[in-house]
């Protein structure tokens, strides 16, 4: 029985396997490390970091929906400075590629955050969260405005040589157009998808269940949408894709790779079974062995249509 090659490349970023922990679903790695051996994973993405610490939204921040959940955490995070000071030392003890997710409300702020973090060797890549209100352009989301996405990509690209991943919003008509802009602006890869906008109301109080009114929908409910977005990008634009959305087991990982993902991120599942990510890595290896795939990367975009 020959050993299976689980390594995957996302642009210049080489990972030992395609299983990445998604931003905002594992904090800064501390708690999850009690359940999952980080050194067995492809990479870990931090909670979105902003220039200044953010307190986040008041409760209620989450609500369950059919096969999914809504969240409106409000980007609560310690801010880039404290992250470097207090969080990186812990992560440095673990042999796992670190991807820093950055959130900001102006192009300049994205750049500033990147500059502060860029010096840290342990950081292997940046994932830019464009699902944030663009304060300069009227508070509409960066992620839904193709020009803004181009600008942010270009500006951050200019200040870092690390792998640059743009995390795309699914709340658009044709996500591949955004992926093309990212590619043209020098981005190394895209992550797809972030959460879908949703809400939920209490029919007795007639008030929103989450304080922010709208929240981000995640979990298995959105998997079909996420797969369609990844497939659209994969068929239209030649750029590495990190597939995200509703992954609950190794089969879902394979499905995302088949439609075009080079790697995947696991989010909501961490809340339900924090040990699953490592289990999935092992199950992927078995699957490849049983089906004589020598390299798991051969699965990427192997769809037959």
């Amino acid at each position: 029985m020959i050993a299976v090659d689980l390594t995957v490349n996302i642009g210049k970023l080489k990972l030992r396997n395609p299983v990445i922990l998604a931003s905002g679903t594992v904090g800064y790695g501390n708690e999850i490390s009690e359940f999952a051996d980080l050194s067995k994973l492809g990479a870990i993405v931090t909670k979105s970091l902003s220039l200044k610490p953010r307190k986040g939204n008041p409760p209620q921040r989450i609500v369950e929906t059919p096969s999914g959940m809504l969240n409106a955490i409000g980007l609560a995070n310690v801010g880039v400075e404290e992250f470097v000071k207090d969080k990186i030392p812990f992560l440095a003890q673990h042999d796992v590629p670190l991807i820093c997710n950055i959130a900001a409300s102006t192009v300049e702020e994205y750049v500033e955050c990147t500059n502060i973090l860029n010096g840290e060797d342990i950081i292997k890549a940046f994932e830019i969260n464009v699902s944030c209100p663009n304060v300069k352009d009227g508070g509409l989301q960066f992620g839904n405005d193709i020009k803004s996405v181009g600008k942010v990509t270009e500006a951050v690209r200019a200040v870092t040589d690390k792998s640059l991943i743009i995390k795309l919003s699914p709340n658009v008509s044709y996500i591949s157009e955004f992926a093309r802009v990212v590619k043209d602006a020098g981005g190394d890869a895209v992550s797809a998808i972030n959460t879908l906008v949703g809400t939920s109301f209490n029919i007795f109080t007639r008030r929103p269940k989450i304080h922010n009114v709208n929240g981000g929908l995640s979990g298995p409910a959105i998997k079909p949408v996420a797969l369609a977005k990844v497939l659209e990008i994969s068929r239209k634009v030649d750029i590495p894709i990190i597939g995200i959305g509703g992954i609950m087991n190794w089969k879902d990982v394979i499905e995302f790779m088949i439609v075009g993902a080079s790697a995947v991120q696991i989010g909501t599942l961490n809340f339900i079974d924090p040990t699953s990510s490592v289990k999935i890595v092992n199950e992927l290896e078995e699957y490849c062995t049983n089906n004589n795939f020598k390299k798991i990367s051969d699965l990427t975009a192997s769809y037959i249509i």
Partner: protein
């Protein structure tokens, strides 16, 4: 903190729609403390998706006990589990009550299902401290005194014990209580805890409250369960990780 699948021994309906479930879980029993909680997966499918948090109601040797009422689909599925079937438990989670300290009377104060964590606390305090349990609810059906000691009751409609809420009951006994060195352990609806906080502040009574919040993970990775801190306005505390038990002085209710 671990994930275990433990066999259900039996389910007993101790009073209308109040279920006690006995589970054989040496691993959880060993780590459990009064006030800690468990995040339980009620289904083997992906629906309902999230785990459900439940207090450790009691621990007896290798057995743990849950107390809950059926309020929705998750608790409904849990109540229908057959003896012998396995329960997927993540825990024990949270900090738990601090039962040490120089007080001689523990005043347990619970509203409705806020009674859940107190059989275990009672077991731990028994013999070490005097216990007075003040238990309230909307009506007789809502007053849960299961495995509690030295109980006084109150109900909003007067159908059980004193007419009024449990904080009124506490106030009614305040004079004789404040002669003693007491510590209050409370759990129940937030409005009740808020009212209690005022009483404790005014009379500067040492009081720990177990709080509630919608949760996803239960151990600090989702940031879903914030509670306002009195010490530091710049950041929230997390009910699941910094709590669920807080000194009443430390949190904004």
């Amino acid at each position: 903190m671990q994930i275990v699948k433990s066999p259900l021994i039996e389910t007993t309906e101790v009073q209308e729609n109040i279920f006690i479930q006995k589970v054989h879980s040496p691993e959880i029993a060993a780590e459990a403390k009064p006030g800690k909680f468990l995040n339980i997966r009620v289904s083997e499918t992906i629906y309902p998706l999230l785990r459900r948090p439940f207090s450790v109601c009691d621990v007896d040797g290798e057995y743990i006990f849950l107390m809950y009422n059926v309020t929705g689909e998750g608790t409904g599925l849990l109540a229908h589990k057959m003896p012998g079937s396995f329960i997927d438990i993540l825990g024990p989670l949270g900090n738990g009550f601090n039962i040490e300290g120089d007080y001689d009377t523990a005043v347990i104060l619970a509203g409705g299902l806020g009674a859940a964590p107190f059989p275990f606390l009672t077991r731990k305090l028994d013999g070490k401290k005097n216990i007075l349990s003040l238990i309230g609810g909307r009506n007789k059906k809502d007053v849960i005194t299961y495995n509690l000691k030295n109980v006084l009751t109150a109900s909003d409609d007067g159908s059980e014990g004193m007419k009024g809420n449990v904080v009124d009951l506490f106030k009614a006994n305040l004079k004789e209580l404040t002669i003693k060195r007491i510590k209050v352990f409370a759990c129940g609806p937030t409005p009740m805890l808020r009212a209690l906080k005022n009483v404790c502040i005014d009379n500067n009574i040492n009081c720990e409250v177990s709080t509630e919040c919608a949760m996803a993970c239960g151990f600090g990775i989702c940031q879903g369960c914030p509670i306002e801190s009195c010490q530091n306005q710049d950041t929230y505390l997390l009910v699941c990780k910094d709590g669920p038990v807080f000194n009443v002085k430390d949190v904004l209710l």
